[in-house]
Symmetry: C2
Subunit: 216 residues, 2 copies
């Protein structure tokens, strides 16, 4: 009797789990990539499984073999995204040089927008819909982190190490500016000319902007 390849063998696709075979690994990846493409442009309700399956090059039943439902796919994408969403702000070091720390944070956010524009749009879509699926994340994890770092920044401002500034609005402004280049890339592209990289010049502009804002 041949040993089963996978010991307990629950039905696959039920939860996020480590992929077992090379085929699972590949197809899950294909699906998530396709789903990211579709969800990030059409939102949850506007996306269809047929569309995602087609984009992934799989049949719809095959897609549903790997993920239980449309919702499961979407949740997998969000989970994966949120895991890394807090990183840039987490790295803001209370012991570092204030202006450099804030500029670096902005740069990390901008780099993420440039490297993962679809993830940025997925997030934007979710917020536009009122953040129904990530309310807990925002109200708890994100809020706590923001409040913590806002205090750090307020401390810097109070000590005169940067110009006085509302820390929450400072953080919001970084979010707004860095996400804009990903979320509104279509608009920027049409205005600057299609061939143009939407992000070109953005880094320099934002460096300059925040240097001016924060100089004591």
């Amino acid at each position: 009797m041949p040993a089963p390849r996978t010991p307990p063998a629950e039905k696959p696709g039920t939860q996020a789990r480590a992929p077992r075979s090379r085929i699972q690994q590949r197809n899950r990846e294909l699906i998530l990539d396709a789903a990211l493409e579709v969800f990030s442009t059409h939102g949850f309700r506007g996306a269809t499984l047929d569309q995602i399956a087609a984009q992934a090059g799989l049949s719809k039943p095959n897609l549903l073999y790997y993920f239980d439902s449309k919702d499961t796919v979407h949740r997998a994408l969000l989970t994966r995204l949120l895991d890394s969403w807090l990183d840039p702000l987490r790295k803001l070091d209370p012991m570092g040089e204030p202006q450099a720390e804030i500029l670096s944070y902005m740069r990390r956010k901008l780099d993420m927008s440039r490297a993962y524009p679809r993830e940025s749009r997925l997030f934007a879509n979710e917020i536009l819909q009122g953040a129904p699926r990530i309310e807990a994340f925002i109200s708890n994890d994100l809020r706590a982190l923001v409040d913590e770092k806002a205090q750090v920044i307020a401390g810097w401002a109070g000590a005169g190490r940067i110009a006085p500034v509302d820390p929450h609005h400072l953080i919001f402004s970084i979010w707004a500016l860095t996400q804009h280049y990903a979320d509104f890339a279509a608009q920027i592209g049409m205005i600057r000319g299609e061939g143009h990289d939407p992000f070109s010049g953005a880094g320099d502009f934002l460096d300059h902007l925040y240097a001016r804002l924060l100089a004591p």
Copy 2:
């Protein structure tokens, strides 16, 4: 023989037209308002006519009596929006005092976001989807206006009346910052506490930000 109330009497709802009766006026308004609510949170494909009709307090066939199709409703909303979308930038006066002009432009944009957050989200949704329905508007009208005003700003910078700055990025930054408070209101609300007005403090912060950026 009673004179017909409406002279040529084509089928109603075929095109945007001046409403004829009080009932038409009221119901068209109800529908557009409901549709704005739904389209702005779920996007075009994610919105349903049933949802819009319910929100408007009408039956679906009744809704379709006033607008030929889902697409027609959406188009009516966009048309109405785009008509006023360019106004704030148009008002930027080449003859005015540079810094005050730019700050006023930012203020007008911010005021529009505060007064019409749903319109802002409708626009954001459209851009996220790749701007399929407003490509012509952006590539032609908006682009031309932006280029024109960018030249004005470049002139001001060249003359040393404001600090040197990339005019396109300056404009993009104003869009990003002002729209963020409307489009990401859900997120801001969850972070600052639900009772909090997302826009509170934004005006002062942005005034300060741009004053610092532009001071020669």
